[in-house]
């Protein structure tokens, strides 16, 4: 009798497990921290994003801003004062109410270095997006609570794309009560985070996994989570992630190698998911190095290399050749730029005209790590060098450790270097200001000529203009000049490859890198 009872219990328990849906997500690393404004990597932000929400968010799979914790927003006529109207009746997972005070608390904590609730965090991503902390270049001057559900931001300069800025996944609104309890430990494995999102933080086992549970009291029935338990695991090697997916121990494998596309398609249990990429990989010239300051030399280099062939060879059919620095999935493109043709004969002529009929010696630096925009930096660099050798340019290939690489590229040490970008916030500004803004055009490209100042000026002007149509025109103009003067050569946009088990439905990756997972179902 007793034994029967035990068996019945076991069967019931199994049935219960079958009903409760668990989704295991395999990404390349576990989070570093879940305190989102201190998190600098997609793996941290993806996990935090399920728990904490931003004022403005994006329609899944796109870069179109839609209401998040704010239902609508408006700017003053000069774009210096932005007012956000907040969603009513929202509660944090700890039961405290979400309101204008909570929004102010969060932004003050990030913006003001004297704020007592910063803990030991540096909030570096805040400076990426807003330009610095309060008094040190931050575009946010102060935040005002107008009433319980209205909050107003006073900016130091006009910013036309402020809603896109606060939509960056760094700025998830945390529960003030939870932060105040222990600002130092907030976001670490020990205490986790508390937000308003469709998932609630459950546990984080160091080095092993993060477990989130469905929030049954979520305010928006349409965005209610489908799975009961969401587990994140960090699996560093793409081959291991694919192996785990095949073994069935994870249901979603993020960021696989392009060459695995065939293997995924060949397995009847798996589905390949290609994401629209917002990244760009490019080859830059530092004009402090002669003869790269010569326009004809730069044009020759652009024509000496068959860029399309490189994209075809190294991106596993997932990449596309870049013609501009703003990717096609984003607005603000010139749209009419014709890429340089592959024409080694013309390249030789140009070199001869520039006074280098027999070519010259230079260096190409490539990054030591694989990035989404350059999946195989070394072979790509080797191919570029081979093409250049055909027209007489002898390029030595060099690299150094990634941390050092990032420390050196803007010192003029690299005559030519490969680099790339994935955006912090989806606005052309985040690309063009980063590459060709007034400071970077000098330090990163070593260019102080008139046309460089003009380009930087156009981008600076577009940055502060509240008028979308004007901004579009300015960005198009700037990109045409960048192309004309070959400041750098855009190489490729890569579209990352992910894969799921066949029973996973509604998985929509985000071009921004960290996607919402509430809509995902496991059938």
């Amino acid at each position: 009798m007793k034994r029967w009872f035990g068996i019945i219990l076991a069967v019931l328990a199994l049935a219960g497990l079958g009903l409760a849906q668990t989704l295991v997500y395999g990404q390349s690393k576990l989070p570093v921290t879940l305190d989102s404004a201190a998190a600098q990597d997609g793996n941290s932000l993806r996990v935090a994003k399920q728990v904490v929400e931003t004022l403005v968010t994006f329609e899944p799979g796109t870069v179109n801003p839609i209401p998040g914790l704010a239902t609508r927003w408006e700017a003053s006529s000069d774009s210096k004062v932005w007012t956000f109207y907040l969603r009513k009746g929202v509660k944090f997972h700890d039961g405290t109410p979400f309101n204008a005070e909570a929004v102010k608390f969060n932004f003050d904590r990030w913006n003001d270095k004297q704020n007592p609730y910063r803990g030991n965090k540096e909030f570096v991503p805040f400076t990426w997006v807003f330009g610095g902390f309060k008094g040190e270049g931050s575009v946010i001057d102060r935040v005002e609570v107008v009433d319980e559900y209205t909050v107003r931001f006073y900016l130091t300069t006009p910013v036309g794309f402020f809603p896109q800025m606060v939509a960056a996944s760094y700025f998830g609104i945390d529960s003030p009560k939870a932060v105040m309890k222990d600002p130092d430990k907030y976001g670490t494995p020990e205490v986790g985070i508390v937000g308003t999102g469709p998932f609630v933080f459950d546990s984080w086992t160091i080095g092993d996994k993060v477990v989130l549970k469905k929030n049954p009291n979520y305010y928006d029935k349409k965005r209610m989570a489908h799975v009961d338990t969401l587990v994140f695991r960090g699996i560093p090697e793409p081959t291991s992630r694919l192996a785990e997916l095949k073994a069935g121990s994870i249901q979603i494998a993020n960021n696989l190698s392009p060459e695995d596309l065939k293997a995924v398609k060949a397995d009847p249990n798996l589905v390949a998911v290609v994401q629209k990429g917002l990244n760009i990989g490019y080859l830059a010239f530092h004009q402090q190095n002669k003869p790269l300051d010569n326009l004809k030399v730069r044009q020759a280099i652009a024509m000496a290399v068959d860029w399309q062939a490189i994209v075809d060879a190294f991106y596993g059919g997932l990449g596309e050749r870049a013609t501009e620095f703003v990717p096609p999935a984003m607005w603000g493109r010139a749209g009419d730029i014709k890429p340089f043709p592959y024409d080694p004969k013309k390249a030789k002529e140009l070199l001869a005209e520039a006074g280098y009929p027999n070519g010259f010696e230079t260096e190409i630096w490539y990054m030591p790590v694989s990035r989404p925009y350059f999946p195989a930096p070394q072979p790509i660099a080797e191919t570029i060098a081979t093409y250049l050798a055909d027209v007489g340019i002898k390029a030595k290939l060099k690299t150094e450790d990634w941390g050092t690489y990032l420390a050196d590229y803007d010192k003029g040490k690299f005559p030519m270097y490969m680099l790339g970008w994935s955006p912090d916030y989806p606005d052309p500004d985040n690309y063009l200001y980063t590459f060709f803004g007034p400071t970077s055009i000098k330090t990163n490209l070593g260019c102080e000529t008139d046309y460089c100042q003009k380009i930087a000026g156009l981008i600076q002007k577009a940055r502060v203009s509240p008028d979308l149509a004007e901004r579009k025109k300015l960005y198009a103009e700037a990109q045409r000049l960048v192309h004309e003067y070959v400041l750098s050569i855009p190489v490729a946009h890569n579209n990352p490859l992910h894969a799921t088990r066949k029973n996973v439905k509604n998985y929509i990756p985000s071009p921004l890198g960290s996607e919402d997972l509430y809509m995902v179902e496991v059938k």
């Binding site: 040190e136 080095g207 090697e237 081959t239």
Partner: protein, 351 residues
């Protein structure tokens, strides 16, 4: 013996001090710093300077001559990074990760048991395979078995762990579905470990389901990690055994009519084990500290992978604290191996 042991352990203090100094110097000599890594491509010189100040990276490494000259106060000479670091360590504080802000002792507490368990697993594999194989190969010198063992040992030493690990995963996890591909416990298993050694904890908490699950997860990484020491131990065991078997006392034992079984397992083995013990001790230390590849492939939440990533990110406190901890373990294991000789071989006397 006791006096020797005390002296041996006191001798570790200057060693560890030297390690802390070396690690500190080398870590700071690597170009690039955490502020750079954090700010990445968007670093402006002003932002870098501010962040360095915030992270206390702007002070001199050893002696703050500038502050001393300015104030004339000799105490200000030590207002620099290494003295601050040393005094923190002496107070038992290893610091916090620059990026995650998690305290290093907390990370070590969570991760070291995982590495320790994997090392034990790998050593069990190495001993179970290496010692019998070495002995049998020595007894049947130049036989087909001997040839097989020695070839196997060569393959074992030269096979890259990375490749072997992936092979094991593809065969046993992906294709046969016999064993899990990675991790320490299944996702659905809820369990609160006491010590972090899951096999031990599951026994203590009487959870046979957890024990089975933990062991299943342990098999593949232990095989991969144990392959090299198994091969080394087999070769060492074979040559040590051959040497001992040629000695007079073995001949005497045989001459007095002892059965071969007793000659080998009782008389010869004990003496042949001495060099093998040294190797085992060294390998135990090495595995504890250097299982980066195995931990990465099998996604094992140990210290190897953690340290490797910290070096990439220039997370100074983790590299310094973690290395010091590992060096501590390594020298202690070596000291214990030294002391164990006396137990095995009474001729060795410690003074």
């Amino acid at each position: 013996m006791a006096a020797y042991a005390i002296r041996r352990f006191l001798g570790l203090i200057p060693v560890l001090f030297g390690v802390s100094l070396l690690v500190f110097t080398f870590v700071h000599l690597i170009p690039g710093d955490p502020a750079r890594v954090m700010l990445g491509q968007r670093a402006t010189p002003e932002a870098l300077k501010r962040l360095r100040e915030e992270l206390n990276l702007d002070k001199p490494l050893f002696f703050n001559l500038a502050a001393y000259r300015k104030t004339g106060d000799p105490r200000r000479l030590f207002d620099s990074q290494y003295p601050a670091y040393l005094s923190r360590i002496l107070r038992g504080d290893l610091g916090r990760s620059i990026f995650s802000k998690v305290s290093i002792s907390e990370e070590l507490r969570a991760r070291f048991p995982a590495t320790f368990e994997l090392t034990l697993g790998a050593m069990v594999v190495a001993l179970l395979v290496g010692i019998p194989a070495g002995i049998l190969a020595a007894i049947r010198k130049n036989s087909l078995f001997d040839l097989l063992v020695m070839t196997g040992a060569l393959v074992g030493v030269s096979m890259p762990i990375f490749w072997l690990g992936l092979l094991l995963i593809y065969v046993f996890a992906v294709n046969l579905h016999w064993l899990p591909p990675s991790g320490r416990l299944g996702i659905g298993v809820s369990f609160h470990p006491l010590t972090g050694l899951l096999v031990l904890d599951s026994l203590l908490e009487r959870r046979p389901d957890v024990l089975a699950d933990a062991l299943r997860h342990l098999i593949l990484p232990s095989l991969a990690l144990g392959s090299i020491p198994a091969a080394v131990i087999a070769r060492m065991m074979r040559s040590a055994m051959l040497e001992v078997l040629g000695q007079d006392y073995v001949r005497t034992a045989r001459a007095k009519g002892l059965p071969e079984r007793v000659v080998i397992w009782k008389h010869a083995l004990k003496n042949a084990m001495l060099p093998v013990i040294t190797i085992i001790g060294l390998w135990f230390g090495t595995l504890l500290t250097g299982a980066i590849l195995t931990e990465t492939i099998f996604n094992w939440p140990g210290i190897g992978k953690w340290l490797y990533e910290a070096i990439q990110a220039r997370d100074y406190p983790i590299v310094q604290g973690g290395t010091l901890f590992i060096a501590g373990i390594y020298v202690v294991v070596n000291a214990l191996v030294d002391l164990s000789y006396g137990l095995l071989d009474p001729r060795i006397q410690y003074r």
